[in-house]
Symmetry: D2
Subunit: 339 residues, 4 copies
């Protein structure tokens, strides 16, 4: 069975195509035939050894995101059937609740082997039903970035009709958050440095767009859209580059989701503003199986389609795909569905 | 200044066209030029004396719902300007929070004089900005039925993307609840005894429709739509006629909004089911000024349009409009915008 | 190994002392040496066949409540050690969240064999650490009635400092709810038909007591304690006998926990009051493993001690203990710790 | 009527005893005979001109905290009676909800004249009933620091039985937060640089105490108290000096109240930890009238007594009292009740 695998040492140059023994589902396990995978910044950091003791070690099959069909079941499986269109959950040891140490111990693509192989076995309790209207590539894009955005917008900030929400950039988490905020009835504002990407984001639900390159006072422009009241919520993905302005943009008792550290992981915090205006800052990572299942059900019911990057990478081009990620030229999820 | 007014005694036959002195706005008050009014079941009960000591007494100008333009301001008014398109709030003494005794003491259309007159003065704190994309008749339909539905769906049940919500009938509260549930990202099921009305409700956001006349087991049909899991939420408007089935239709830990008593006000409650399945029953009436303002902002941001009954009644035909209400032949709010 | 067991048919007369093979812990299981058990109304109904298909069938070892020491571990157990002072969770298949069909499938004392035996094996994930300051009999009293009261007061009603809470009767759920409401900072009112029991409940945290036999207008007396505002919360245990008064006793937007059906399971519901005053009715049963663990931790941190009925029943006197339960002469949990 | 007042310019040296005309209550106002006042860091900053345009300007009667008796009522007042034991609310323009610009416009002691005078008029809607078991000095200590702590612990963090909460220092907000956390059923940990103050805090409800001077790894010690799980909540008052350790001390999905900036207002924020562990940071200031009323009711029901600094300052010694505040030698609120 073909797979891509990190061999011997960390580093993208050590990812190689290998042949592995055919996996067989044990008690309580499902065998999934992988049809597509998607790539997250996390996967690149993992391959570079950036997570230290929390990450996996070579040999390691990369990637946590994938989608496919259930090909066989081990004994004692309930709730999953052969032929089901599914995704492996991000982690096999995170059913619900906050991310404790145990939650990451069973994460696919590090510490556990990931989705970058023809077939894999997954405990049935960590198998998610994928929305049936999606292609394998679209479904593969959901478990990591989608659940992160869902947690921020729907379960933590609990965005409601009539609220105004600002999203930063056109990375996968931001675009998912845009779609979920719109689905939840909010008015949305998207900022990006690219007019072209902003235009492409409009049909996904961006009511207002701001180019932060040409309008560095985007936080003031955003406040004006709310007639000076301030935003209900900002999904902050820029870290040190954006936090100060995100805090300035929200209303009194508004909230900011802290997700990204793209612009630096140690911003100075303007305590005076946060205190006097009762602002809430909420750290958000990916979520457990139950939360992922709620997101999958919502996407299925609403018929949402996640945007995918136009260029598709071949199975063996995984190192190139991982290397391309930080360049930021993509719009939509980078996937590989040429299995 | 023309007005319709209940004279001497309760009873629709005692509503008469009268000429009243021109009102002048006192300190903190706005003068509103009324352009349209809408009729609620509450108004009919009020005219019949059904609220006893809690209601108003003749002489009484009827109706709590209206919309128009601010024509003048008394001294010391902030936040409202001449020319603003507005609605009087349901009550002048209910700013926020639950409905205490004080909350209803300032209700328009009983105990206080209502909207059925050419001009009225309202304390500025009880003036709501109406969504600018609406006609006066559409805006007039919002304060009572709209806020009741908003409270049930958005603020009490906190309906979220991916949830399934069932609405009962095509009365104004049910249709507003349908629109808000859809706006909040839910999958919706509408039941009615009329196939024709069900078809008219589809474009308002009804994903599934059930005729409860031809399918009296609508609660089972609704459960099937959720693959047997049960609904997240039911907006119950039938009281004794529907409560048992509403409770059967929701999932474990689901909830039911109790709003209507159309089918009887003293249903038998199946405690066994409510207890063992942790079901929540939430009584809901209209809400205070702050909640109404949140609803108005959401309708404005989303561009929602409330449906209006096709037939419009003339100013002097108010008694006929009130009498027509219980016949249930209307679809959408019954309004009078011929001022 | 000794056990009491329901043999052949339902009925307390069919419970007999038997000798069972020594259990051995399988993979992921702990062997618990039972030191005390406690009796719930549920257990009596189970022995009488009252739960139909949802319950267990003979032969069946009764009772869901017990406490003891971990005597041995099967392979692969983490988080539990030999010698730990523990209780089996109510169910082996209910980890968190609402009570779905699956949740009750693994309930001890029906459908699964229960605690009324010298030793039992339990999956490690369903083993609860008992508060170390308690005796085995006290710890055994917690999993069913304690978690029910905890769910009602702490997790559903979220009782806060300064609120006023009314509890009904001196059954186990009511006394636990009294202790939890007091622990959460509330002012408490306890009603009972016995002055003697009311006096015994004072040291458990009853700030006010009302004998509902001599004061049938207890709901009005309770409102007076709040200067006419109404209670924040009532834990209703009387069902048809109390619900109408419970609803009258709470404030606008107050809430009532529905738990008990002692006075009848099909009360008439006064919809008018529930609707106009925005009252919330919340059905409550026992909870899952995670909730039970939170309760155990709170009891340990606060040093709470649950009251036990003075009379202790011998191991073989289980049928007599079950028969005595409905007589209601006890104060505090009925336990058997003579193992 | 005697008063202390800031004359001409900012600076403690410009506070002087003056004689002012007797105030008379206008429509909707109550006249309060002040019996005691309490001092907050806010008052000192105000007298030094530290709030710029947001603060008051001389001439200005200082202080927001006071307590006394209602001496007379203007026309149209409901809900307040002559002789009532009361406190003026922090602000006359903040009834409920988050602190918008309007909320601070009516704050006593700047921009509006404060409590440091024999008698003052206050709109009846901004008059709080004081807990009857308290002395005037104790009651005077509540509106500003008490409400801040209440907001943090009870309304924002919603501390529950069984949770573990850490408080920083023995300033007024920290000691109130300690009492409220204990009242809400939590296990409490107090840190301070003074063993003597820690011992004095034990009877107020400190279950564990840590001297952060001798144990700079107090965050690790605190985690050990929770057996490595981490705290549910930290009330952070040290700002730049403590935030990093506060974040390290809480559990996954735990929360930190941001209130104080004593150790610096621009700490570096460890985004990595906040994000991966889903930590919530919540800015907290004082609250509106409704929140203050809820706190007053809870203190009355529970019989809590706030600690007061042993040394009492005379009416004319206000500048000395304000100057003494930053020295931090006090334990409990600094009050002046020699009126």
């Amino acid at each position: 069975m073909k797979a891509m695998r990190l061999e011997e040492n960390f580093g993208l140059e050590n990812i190689r195509r290998v042949d592995l023994p055919e996996p067989e589902p044990g008690p309580g396990e499902a065998l999934i035939e992988i049809q597509a995978v998607a790539i997250n910044p996390r996967d690149r950091i993992m391959m570079l050894g950036g997570y230290g003791r929390m990450g996996g070690r070579p040999p390691l099959v990369p990637l946590c995101d994938g989608a496919g069909r259930v090909a066989a079941l081990g004994p004692g499986v309930e709730g999953v059937a052969v032929g089901d269109f599914v995704c492996p959950a991000y982690s096999t040891t995170w059913s619900h609740g906050p991310p404790d140490a145990e939650a990451h111990r069973g994460a696919h693509g590090g510490p556990l082997d990931g989705t970058m192989r023809a077939r894999m076995t997954v405990p049935a309790r960590a198998v998610l039903k994928a929305p049936p209207h999606l292609t394998p590539a679209e479904a593969a894009s959901l478990p990591c970035a989608g659940v992160t955005a869902w947690s921020a917008v729907v379960e933590q900030a609990q965005v409601k009709p009539g609220q105004t929400v600002l999203l930063q950039g056109t990375g996968a988490v931001s675009l998912f958050a845009l779609q979920f905020a719109k689905l939840a009835g909010a008015r949305t504002i998207l900022i990006s440095s690219s007019d072209e990407k902003l235009e492409r984001a409009r049909p996904l639900g961006a009511d207002h767009v701001i180019n932060y390159r040409t309008d560095p006072d985007w936080h003031k422009t955003a406040r004006e859209i709310t007639e000076g009241v301030g935003l209900d919520h900002v999904v902050d993905l820029g870290g040190a580059e954006t936090l100060e302005k995100s805090i300035s943009a929200v209303r009194s008792s508004g909230s900011v989701s802290l997700i990204g550290v793209l612009g630096g992981a140690s911003p100075a915090l303007n305590l005076g503003k946060v205190v006097t205006r009762n602002i809430r800052l909420q750290g958000v990572t990916v979520g457990g199986r139950d939360m992922a299942a709620r997101m999958m059900a919502a996407i299925a019911a609403a018929g949402l389609r996640p945007p995918l990057h136009a260029e598709r990478f071949a199975f063996e081009a995984l190192p190139q795909a991982l290397a391309a990620l930080p360049e930021g030229r993509h719009f939509g999820k980078v996937v590989c569905d040429d299995f």
